[in-house]
Structure formats: C-alpha cells, structure tokens
Symmetry: C2
Subunit: 198 residues, 2 copies
Amino acid sequence: MNISKLGYALLTLLARGEFSGYDLARQMSEPIGFFWTARHSQIYPELAKMEEQGLLVVQRVEQHDRPDKKLYSITETGREALRQWVTEPIGPPVERSELVLKAYAIWQADPEQALRLFREQEAYHAAKLAQYEKEWFELKANTSAGLRVDDPCFADYITLWRGVDFERGYVEWCHWIAEQFERHLQEKKQKDEKDEKV
Amino acid sequence: MNISKLGYALLTLLARGEFSGYDLARQMSEPIGFFWTARHSQIYPELAKMEEQGLLVVQRVEQHDRPDKKLYSITETGREALRQWVTEPIGPPVERSELVLKAYAIWQADPEQALRLFREQEAYHAAKLAQYEKEWFELKANTSAGLRVDDPCFADYITLWRGVDFERGYVEWCHWIAEQFERHLQEKKQKDEKDEKV
DNA sequence: TCACGCATGTAAGAGGTTACATGATTAG
DNA sequence: CTAATCATGTAACCTCTTACATGCGTGA
C-alpha cells in the first residue's frame, strides 16, 4: 500500500472523527500537533491520494454561510492499516533541534545576545508549557476515575504528558543557561569598574 | 550569503576543529549528533558549496595507509557568519516524533503489541540515556571548577544535559505506558479465567 | 472597505533519504 | 576470503516549505 508518515498522521486524526482537509491542517499546525506538523499544501494532495487507495472516503458537504467542504472519513481498510502500523517497530528517531544546535555553538556568541536568546526561548517554552499543562489538568479532572488503555482519552493523556515534560525540560534548561550568561555579564561589569579605578 | 541549517550545523562543528567530510558525517550520525543529523550524500555537496562561498578552506591530506582526505577548516568569514547566526531568534520549532504520533493512536492497538513496542522503546531510550549520562558525568568530573560560558566545554555540558533530560523523560514515559498495558492484560486474563469457571 | 476566517487547490524549489558507484587497507 | 573501516562522490526520489491562486461571508 505504501503509506507515508504524513498518511499515518492523517489516519491517526481521522480515526477519531470525520474532518475536512482544512480541519486537519489546523490540527496539524500549532498548537495541537506538537509531535507532527504539515501544511495544507501537503495535506490536500495526500488526502486525494489516500482516497484513491481506498483508505478514506470523501463526502461533499454543502454549507450556506461558508464554502462547501469535503468531509473525509476513515474506511475499514484505513483503520486496519493504522492498527498495523501503530505497533510496528520504530527506527532510530531523527531529532532536529535548532536551539540545541545553537547551544552547541554558544561559546562563540556575544554574551548579551546569548542571554537575550535564552530568555526569549524560556518565555516561548513557558507559554507552551502553560498551554499543555492546562489541557492536561482539565483532562485529569474529567477522568479522575482512571483511564482504560483502549480509550482515546488515554492517548490524549500520555501525549499531553509528553508535551508537558518536554516543555518543562526546555524551560528549566533555558533558565539555567540564561542565569549563567547573566552571572558572566555581572562579573565582567565588576571587573571593568575595578579596572577603571586603577 | 544564504546558508542552510545544515551549513550552520557544519560550521558549528568546524568551529571546534578541522574535519573531513567523512569525519563530519560520523559526527552528524549516531551517537553525537542527537540534535541534528545528515548523511554523507548531503554533506559532501554542501561542503563544496560552502568552500566556493569562502566559508571554508580545504586542504588535501595524503595518507599512505588510507585513502587521501580533504580537511576542511573554517575561515574568518565562516566564523563571523556562525557568530551572527548563533544568537539570531528562532521560529517555532518543528517537532516530529513518530513515537508520540503512535502514542496518539495507541488506543486502537492490540494491547500485547503495544506493550512490546513501549518495552522496546524504553530499552532504546534507556541505552541512549546511559550513553549521554556517562559522557556528561565524565565532563562534570573533568571540569569540577565550573565552566565559563565562552568555553566550548560549557556548550558540551548544556548539550549533553539536554540529551540526558530528554532521554530520561522518554524512559519514564515509556515505562509508565508499558505498565498500564501490563495491568490491562493481567485484568483481562483474570476476567477470562473467571469466565471459564462459570 | 479591508482584513480575517473558511475552504481548496497547484507549482517551484529546498531539504533529505536511499541507492548506486569505486577502491584501498586491515582484521578475523 | 570476507567483512568492516576509511574515503568521496552522484542520481533518483520522496518530503516539506513557500508562494501563487481563487472566492465567499462577516465583523470592525
């Protein structure tokens, strides 16, 4: 069948309900899709391809106040392919973090600019953290009785947990690095003042 | 100048020493490059391009026991470009995790297969964690006096820390999920045994 | 009236993977 | 003799981003 990762990502979403390409594009951009993203220009052709493969069926929905839309739903074939894929072994993950890459070169940087960058990044990740934490706490409150592993909410729970933990780690990390640059700048300032006196 | 992310990744490595394309390819695959990866087929043309742009200079090194190699070193132009880039603001990061994507669809899975997947992933990330932790502890031991922000070891330290924290999070997460599937399977087994008696 | 949200698409190009291609030396 | 390591490259292909393209309805 040859289904791409994006294809599986779309099946993952469509296993939970019927959506249009537009809906899916929204879910696969900020903020929900923190573990997989795609633009509409990639999604629309992929949906068309998957419909041809019989993984999805499409239904045109006419709307009076808005443009018509194409509602996609997963077929039994699609669901079976997803079920197959979901527990298949994963190869070594391809990590790519521009921030960690910059961190590896940070010893070259102007300290004031470096401080600015990490303060900025701390704020960014703190905002993400707050957002995921809010959703996570809400989910926890609504399902205090405990979740079954075959409940979609269980999947929501673990996914959000990962997001929370991920962002929490970044916030602490950025904060500590920013502190080091602050200390460095203060020490330099004190030294400069001392030199002036002499 | 128009330098790609890969270009900056290469400059980041070449700021620390002279390397051949082969050396760089090794550093940008497992295990060192956990925050940026590239294959040799992408690296060789990129190096050639960067040399033309005057960011690098190349030097042919003849070796008797092995094939000759091309040693690249960063130029002042290259170092300046790197210094510029390293504190430039970063756009929203593109996160892509196949495992978290699968986690979001895990409610569809066969519980036994899901258990296998997460046990497998726990082992994988535990191995990565052990490796990063070892390097991190060694670095800590060698630099007990504290590090200056302009020391490359400071960059090593924070990069490894991020890796350790990242992997630690995955290990705990996989472990907890595997436990949930184990409990689910045990409960099912008990129910099946009870049903048999009746 | 102007921007924004809804809604769907195409095209060009950059970025990245897999496979093809060659060839020497060394360790098992 | 066979596999692995060192060493450099190219070609085909897939994935992903950016930009182009259209058009309606609503609220400021």
